[in-house]
Symmetry: C3
Subunit: 155 residues, 3 copies
């Protein structure tokens, strides 16, 4: 069995692993938030989910949409749309031998921006709080993509 610990001895890669795990755990929290609002507000998408709240037509009244649930779901989808590119581009960027402090700055800004984006979406804070958080995370990912393609383009 080959020792892979050398990959994890690389400081940029360890930092990427830590920040990625944090931002993905944050994204997973959105599932819990959706479940929490669905249960406390009795708002469901599937007939089998509200079978415990009544029989037949009585249960069907819980098959509805709710502003708060939809808001959490939009925040969750926005996370997916932005964290997937960070995951792919960030991994490849980490392996391309970037400067440690530059790489950590990228990771910190991205994770901070996504956490602030969630707060701004769920409270909600007035615009442009959420828009700025979105564009900061977006810009960080594009900056990593640019550095990666500039140094390692191979088509």
């Amino acid at each position: 069995m080959v020792e892979l610990t050398q990959l994890m001895d690389n400081e940029v890669f360890m930092a990427f692993a830590s920040y990625t795990t944090i931002v993905l755990s944050k994204m997973m929290f959105m599932s819990t938030a959706t479940a929490f609002y669905r249960l406390t507000r009795k708002v469901f998408a599937n007939p089998e989910d509200c079978a415990g709240f009544g029989k037949g037509e009585n249960a069907k009244k819980y098959l509805r949409t709710d502003d708060r649930v939809e808001r959490v779901r939009r925040a969750h989808l926005n996370d997916l749309e932005n964290i997937v590119p960070f995951l792919g581009i960030g991994l490849l960027y980490s392996l391309s031998g970037p400067d440690l402090s530059t790489a950590i700055l990228h990771f910190r800004l991205f994770v901070g921006a996504r956490i602030y984006h969630t707060i701004a979406y769920l409270i909600p804070l007035p615009q442009p709080n959420r828009a700025l958080a979105f564009f900061l995370g977006y810009g960080v990912t594009l900056s990593m993509a640019y550095r990666l393609l500039r140094s390692r383009l191979y088509l």
Copy 2:
């Protein structure tokens, strides 16, 4: 050209590669299921998709939603929301040098939970079948995240 086969000689990494490929292929099957129900039930989201079923106003009647199609799409989105964290956290966990049998247990439980989740969603089975499958997969990913951060935190 550098030999990368050493990475694939690592048993944890090969197991991760196998289980990930299976669960991602399962997720891709959801696209086929959506296409199948859209075509057999004539339920479309885009005007150009139903142009073959009639002209003008006659075709527009197929621009509608359908319970079964929406159910498959919710199952697909739930897959995305859960498999993306598994992909990122699982990859980094696999590279952090975990015990082989512990790692394989994590991968098997996750893939089994997601396959059971899809079955419970599409049939559908009564709750809490789907909820338990969801929380099992969720717990496995969180367990990998915890082990990763405990051993390799670098902020």
Copy 3:
């Protein structure tokens, strides 16, 4: 600090990194397209987003859906559903030591298919343009999954 540049000296891996960065950047462009149509058409999902266009009930009229915005969002979600499997399976396939020209053919076809899919979705082109682009990308990912499992299955 361990040198990781050996991973990036591998030509298949460098090609994967380049094509992945391009297709993820293309996916990120969909966010910008959504924002563009939301702002120019004044179509918003959140009350705080349209607060700048008027007070109270006057602003609420912009909380609506729009065919063009929904079309971009469907194209974006389809990207997510297809690029996530490519990201996971393609990474593991790249590390499994495939033939360079075969690997590059896979990457080129996938990236070309996804770019054509977006063009066919947004213009829109008549079917089966979009369907063929979808199935080409889908088939490329399945082909990589098959080659990976055939050579490296470990359950």
